[in-house]
């Protein structure tokens, strides 16, 4: 394909091979969990799925559009409440839920994006914070739809098709959640690959130059923001499918903050990194919640500070940083002077 970015050619064959290690490890781990008899473990893992999908959505906006956001909880919330309402109304087909969630999320993100994509950097972050606050307020305040602060409970389990049984078994839910999460992540990766990656990378690097070459940068960003809204909406549908209840706290400010943290830890431009970051943050949070209940914010705060100081570029940049550590002379291989690190450090400037 003539339009594929040539920067890929900078990667050595070796590191291209290494790319497949993390997904392989993930799949192996999943197989182990699915095969294990521990239903609690399976439920815990499947409950990470919606948050992981939300993290992918935030990584798309933060890393690929370069717009640091706390506001993706809005399409996430809309996707979740849409799904909950559909299920409560007797429509339990999971594909319908996913499609409706994606559509609702895209619409909300599209409307918000129309106002937001004109802004950059910390101002965007600030405005997206207002969006997060707005969605939390709406979730708590719109009694008739959201059930207010009590939320919605007793939501019927979804089924894959009208004829199949409902997804209630922990193992089945885990397989379903893992499949949706993987499919969504892979779809997002594929959509942001090739020519689109080139366009976004370029536009992010120099907006004026991109405009002067005829690229409507804000329109690109709006499209990415809207697409990420669809992803967040799918995450919202998955939230209902794996939890079967929802309260405003699930889509509140804390969720927005944690997911941004997960993305920052994951490395912003890397969607698999976001998945890894989400799983890491949730694991740490749940483990600590057991040993020191009520102190999740303290831990998150420490993680935030640590991520900024210790992990510039996030987990995804770690292999490159380790590779670029100064090493003894006798260890250096033949120079491949063309190798460049992925431009993660610039991703959010």
């Amino acid at each position: 394909m003539s339009t594929a970015p040539t920067s890929r050619s900078h990667r050595t064959m070796l590191s291209r091979g290494r790319q497949w290690v993390p997904p392989a490890v993930t799949v192996a781990a999943l197989i182990v969990v699915v095969a294990s008899p521990d239903a609690y473990l399976q439920a815990s893992i499947s409950r990470m799925a919606p948050f992981t999908v939300l993290a992918v959505s935030v990584a798309v906006v933060t890393g690929h559009a370069g717009l640091p956001t706390l506001g993706q909880v809005a399409p996430y919330a809309v996707g979740a409440y849409t799904t909950a309402r559909l299920a409560l109304a007797g429509i339990t087909a999971a594909p319908v839920h996913l499609a409706a969630g994606a559509l609702a999320g895209a619409v909300v993100a599209g409307v918000l994006g129309a106002a937001l994509v004109r802004y950059r950097g910390t101002v965007f972050l600030m405005l997206s914070l207002a969006v997060a606050e707005l969605s939390a307020t709406s979730a708590a305040g719109w009694q008739a739809v959201t059930g207010g602060t009590d939320g919605l409970a007793g939501i019927p389990a979804p089924s894959l098709a009208p004829v199949t049984p409902a997804l209630v078994d922990d193992r089945a839910v885990l397989l379903y959640a893992a499949t949706v999460t993987t499919a969504t992540t892979v779809a997002a990766i594929l959509l942001l690959h090739g020519p689109r990656r080139l366009l976004l990378l370029g536009a992010r690097g120099n907006e004026d130059r991109a405009r002067a070459s005829g690229h409507p940068v804000n329109r690109y960003l709006w499209l990415v923001h809207t697409g990420a809204g669809a992803v967040a909406g799918i995450g919202g549908a998955l939230l209902i499918h794996t939890h079967r209840w929802i309260t405003p706290a699930d889509v509140g400010f804390t969720t927005a903050a944690i997911v941004l943290l997960a993305v920052v830890i994951g490395g912003a431009t890397s969607l698999p990194g976001a998945v890894a970051g989400a799983v890491a943050v949730l694991t740490v949070r749940d483990v600590v919640a057991l040993s020191a209940p009520g102190h999740a914010p303290l831990l998150l705060g420490v993680l935030f500070v640590a991520a900024v100081y210790v992990l510039p570029g996030g987990l995804a940049a770690l292999p490159a940083r380790i590779r670029h550590l100064p090493r003894p002379r006798w260890l250096t291989r033949a120079p491949d002077g063309s190798s460049v690190a992925e431009p993660v450090a610039r991703s959010m400037s």
């Binding site: 003539s2 339009t3 970015p5 040539t6 920067s7 050619s9 900078h10 080139l198 366009l199 990378l201 370029g202 992010r204 690097g205 120099n206 004026d208 130059r209 991109a210 405009r211 002067a212 070459s213 005829g214 690229h215 409507p216 940068v217 063309s338 460049v340 431009p343 610039r346």
Partner: protein, 266 residues
């Protein structure tokens, strides 16, 4: 502070021939009554500025004369505050920079950073994006034209200043502009690089119009057939290149021996 809303060929207070003006109205760029201020400081107040196909139009003047502002307004990089710009007979004052670029108004930048994260070849691809299915020249050929073929796979951020300037030009050319706005294309270039730049620019198709903001008078002399002199945002002189360059008032302006206000000419 005279704003002309409608320029008819007989009313333009410039020495341009009626033929030029007609061609500018038909296939070129006409800016009328452009005025621009940053806070309370007026940096540009230009009654008329026209670019016809094939023009080699230099805009010169001391620092702060409003040259870059003029270029940014024509390219749409800066939003127009007052005045009107038409292109191919169509009003484009409110059109975005991206729209204008797609319509054929290309530009280079005074401080070219291009796309730091992309390779040179990808930078040129970004520039020729809207012609990628029917390119006049392939990205490789454009890079070759500006002498960067050997750097195709290097990231733009790693280039020297001179090479980055040439890459910026290549990106602009890949967009197949009909009007090319050049913001100090020779600034910071070595003598060899300047020669290369002149080679490229003089070798362009004769119907492409060049608008050139430049301090280096040898570059202006080599390229321009028409010169507009800006001073404090006003048109100080305007005419055929050799005539303007021979004008003692213009030389005095550059040497700073006279203020602009007493020598104002319309």
């Amino acid at each position: 502070m005279r704003i002309i809303h409608r320029i008819d060929p007989n009313g333009v207070p410039s020495q341009r021939s009626h033929g030029d003006i007609d061609r500018a109205h038909g296939n070129g760029l006409v800016a009328a009554g452009l005025r621009h201020a940053y806070q309370r400081l007026t940096v540009l107040d230009l009654d008329a500025f026209t670019v016809a196909p094939g023009d080699r139009h230099a805009v010169i003047g001391p620092n702060g004369a409003g040259k870059s502002t003029l270029l940014n307004l024509l390219a749409g990089t800066t939003r127009t505050q007052a005045g009107r710009i038409t292109y191919n007979g169509q009003i484009i004052t409110r059109r975005s920079a991206a729209w204008r670029a797609r319509a054929g108004i290309g530009r280079t930048f005074q401080h070219p950073t291009v796309y730091p994260d992309l390779t040179c070849l990808d930078c040129v691809r970004m520039g020729g994006w809207h012609h990628r299915h029917h390119p006049e020249y392939t990205p490789k050929q454009v890079l070759d034209l500006v002498g960067l073929a050997d750097h195709a796979d290097r990231p733009a951020a790693s280039l020297s200043h001179g090479h980055r300037r040439m890459l910026d030009l290549a990106v602009a050319l890949a967009g197949q502009p009909r009007i090319l706005l050049l913001d100090e294309p020779a600034a910071g270039l070595t003598e060899t690089e300047t020669d290369r730049l002149l080679d490229v620019l003089t070798g362009l198709s004769s119907w492409i119009a060049l608008v050139l903001v430049e301090h280096d008078m040898s570059v202006v002399a080599a390229l321009a057939n028409w010169i507009t002199v800006l001073h404090h945002g006003h048109r100080y002189a305007d005419g055929p290149a050799n005539q303007v360059r021979a004008d003692p008032a213009v030389a005095a302006l550059y040497l700073g021996t006279t203020g602009g206000d007493d020598a104002e000419r319309q």
